[in-house]
Subunit: 431 residues, 2 copies
């Protein structure tokens, strides 16, 4: 892969998530050439993945082709590539189709699921990308199908037990949406099914959910989940799991139809290939100006970066952090070209929001603690405005309005036959 030798410096951005795209936008009118690489040809709106996983939104509604996002930006090129390595000395990255040299490099490859050293990736369901979300949706709907064909109450109860591991924002949103799916869709679609065996279990290792939130909002979220029928188990660290059961540290084994692992995130595999210091979650240690130590031309941002020294707490792995860091990196690259000093990163925390089913959310924004319907309206507005692209917004709105008015889910398709194989383990009647 030869690059044309240009007179303008080449900025290479790895990853077209919130961070990577923001860097590209920040450099769009500047005298640099930009190449942005991603292993998908689309940008994923990660905060709504749980809606795809629970059949509320279609995968295409939260994804946008990267080339369309960048269509009017003339100095940015897109490449569909998986980046496998970084050679800091030669100033080049390795991809699945060759090498690419850079003058400036921005690493913005996001995060991966953290299994805390356990080998659970093959047997549990994660929720980090669109494929995960679609697979999870197929699996959940597959358990309903298998349960409706099951004969004895025990296997029905096992199949209809959905376990969510991890009480962070994703776990709370996922458990709430699953509860609504079971409550509002199942009775209509599966009239034969005994709904008393339906059960959603949220397992949390510590003694509280939503660790970043004020205690009052944690309590509100907990009350709302209980109202929806979600069982929360605190102090329940998972010792082992497979596709159809979870074993707690206490030794208790819980059979289930599906096990969803949303207990934490760590740096993506690419981080391992970067020869620099990392923290315990594999994140790259960067300076306050967001560079790798000794490499002022290499920046790392978002979920895969840990700003400051080992004594500094990392920023939360949230889109706003990545976006703010991206804006600064674009500025710092331009400052570097102009011979000006680099700026330091200061995170402006505007707050966080978590939705729990219809009409309910908790929001801690601008110092305010909101819950219930008003928080949910704010959540809805913020996420709709935020979604990139007018068309996606319109379709999402149509789908949400439909779901809201009818208590129905539009997208109950099981698309991958593999997920059926998977759940049919629980079906004891196979010949």
């Amino acid at each position: 892969m030869k690059e044309p030798v240009g007179v303008r410096p080449l900025v290479v951005i790895v990853g077209a998530g919130f961070g990577g795209l923001r860097v590209a936008r920040g450099l769009s009118r500047s005298p640099v050439d930009v190449t942005i690489l991603d292993r998908h040809n689309y940008h994923t709106f990660v905060p709504l993945l749980y809606q795809v996983a629970t059949a509320g939104l279609e995968p295409e509604e939260i994804a946008q082709p990267i080339r369309r996002i960048l269509r009017d930006v003339t100095n940015v090129r897109f490449r569909l590539n998986t980046v496998t390595g970084v050679n800091l000395d030669r100033r080049a990255i390795t991809t699945d189709t060759g090498e690419l040299r850079y003058d400036y490099l921005v690493l913005a490859a996001g995060s991966a699921t953290n299994y805390f050293g356990q080998d659970l990736a093959q047997v549990t369901s994660a929720l980090r990308d669109l494929d995960d979300a679609e697979r999870l949706r197929d699996q959940v709907l597959g358990t309903f199908e298998a349960a409706s064909a099951a004969e004895d109450p025990a296997s029905c109860r096992q199949l209809m037990t959905l376990i969510v591991v991890g009480g962070g924002p994703t776990g709370v949103e996922l458990a709430g949406a699953l509860a609504e799916l079971q409550r509002h869709v199942l009775p209509h679609d599966y009239p034969d099914l005994d709904l008393s065996c339906a059960r959603i279990l949220l397992l949390e290792a510590t003694d509280r959910i939503l660790p970043g939130m004020p205690p009052a909002l944690q309590a509100k979220a907990q009350a709302k989940l209980s109202e929806l029928g979600v069982e929360i188990r605190f102090g329940a660290p998972v010792a082992d799991a497979d596709a159809n059961s979870v074993t707690l540290s206490s030794g208790e084994m819980i059979p289930a139809g599906a096990v969803m692992w949303v207990a934490g995130m760590r740096a993506p595999p690419l981080a391992e290939a970067v020869p620099t210091d990392k923290d315990s979650a594999g994140r790259l240690m960067v300076s306050k100006t967001l560079n790798l130590p000794g490499h002022p031309e290499v920046y790392a941002i978002g979920d895969m970066a840990h700003v400051g020294g080992p004594e500094t707490r990392p920023h939360p792995m949230l889109a706003p952090v990545a976006i703010q860091q991206a804006a600064l990196v674009a500025e710092n690259i331009l400052r570097s070209l102009a011979g000006k000093p680099q700026q330091r990163f200061v995170y402006k925390d505007r707050g966080t929001m978590v939705t729990i089913g219809r009409n309910a959310a908790v929001a801690h924004i601008f110092g305010l603690r909101l819950s219930g319907f008003i928080a949910w309206l704010i959540w809805l507005t913020v996420h709709l405005v935020w979604l990139i692209g007018f068309r996606n917004r319109m379709l999402v709105l149509v789908n949400w309005a439909w779901n809201y008015l009818t208590y129905d889910r539009g997208v109950r398709l099981i698309r991958r036959s593999s997920s059926r194989q998977h759940v049919s383990n629980g079906n004891e009647e196979a010949p």
Copy 2:
């Protein structure tokens, strides 16, 4: 799988396509129990598959969960099962999770791609179900990505050559939609790409396209395709093909980025497992009352049935045929229960329509020969009204309006990484 022993006769329907669902609807207020089985949990609107394959519609827009379609029908149950065999003597079908007995059986399992004895299923792309369509979309978009990274004009030309084998309605609609994708989307999304190497080739073994249409409309369709830049090769039977080339009977080898096989249909694998007479395309021979010979309790309809003797021409494999046969089968089952004689099937041909890109279609309906914009408007109206489910109609309309007004395609996502592996064969630069 034990069935409750009911007092009401059990009608088992295999396949929830247009035919199977119409039989279920026809029996919905009758004193029978109905079980309908399908290997997918959704009904696919097959006539619009080519729109998914060319990134015009999202997969979910042309699919509807079967349980929702049947939600208000109390005597019909759905089962997500693959049917593998039929035991006519014991009156039972075999599924992937056990056996199911029937009093009446309706076989409505649709069709499969006809490779005319050639072993091409693994190397070419078919277009029979939603997975095919999504895979095809990924493959086509993948060739664009690979071409934009290609260095030499020869490999760019190969990658950008898309071959459609078969000049029937599917081939014509697919070629037209691909031409519009190349013409309207590529220049914006791939500014670096040399569009002069883009090429769509429609290979037809005979001397005309759209064999069922009047010659005047065949000529109109041909002229419109040429206008869109599609090269049509008549008298070009394919002797061999792989993922990246086609060899004609003449010995000529044409390198390509993707080869799409839409040259014909045959009976699905299930037909082979039914011990009764078949025609050369594997379809079950049924009487004029749509029963298997010697088995008045077993009906076969739609693409997998051939009505009358071997001397009778089979009906075209179209949805209206399946739907009309389904209505008759529902009636014949009720007549059989009432001890009345069976009715014979007579196909009322209301005509056929084929669309060729924006604003253009050919329609032969109610004896009228229409083409151009008016035919396209009729085509659009008929298909929208026909699409099952209000919500789907609304989303499809939003998407079509968007595509029409902007010349854009909303769904340009490459979802399966396997398809990238596939096209990267054509990329000579891999390390």
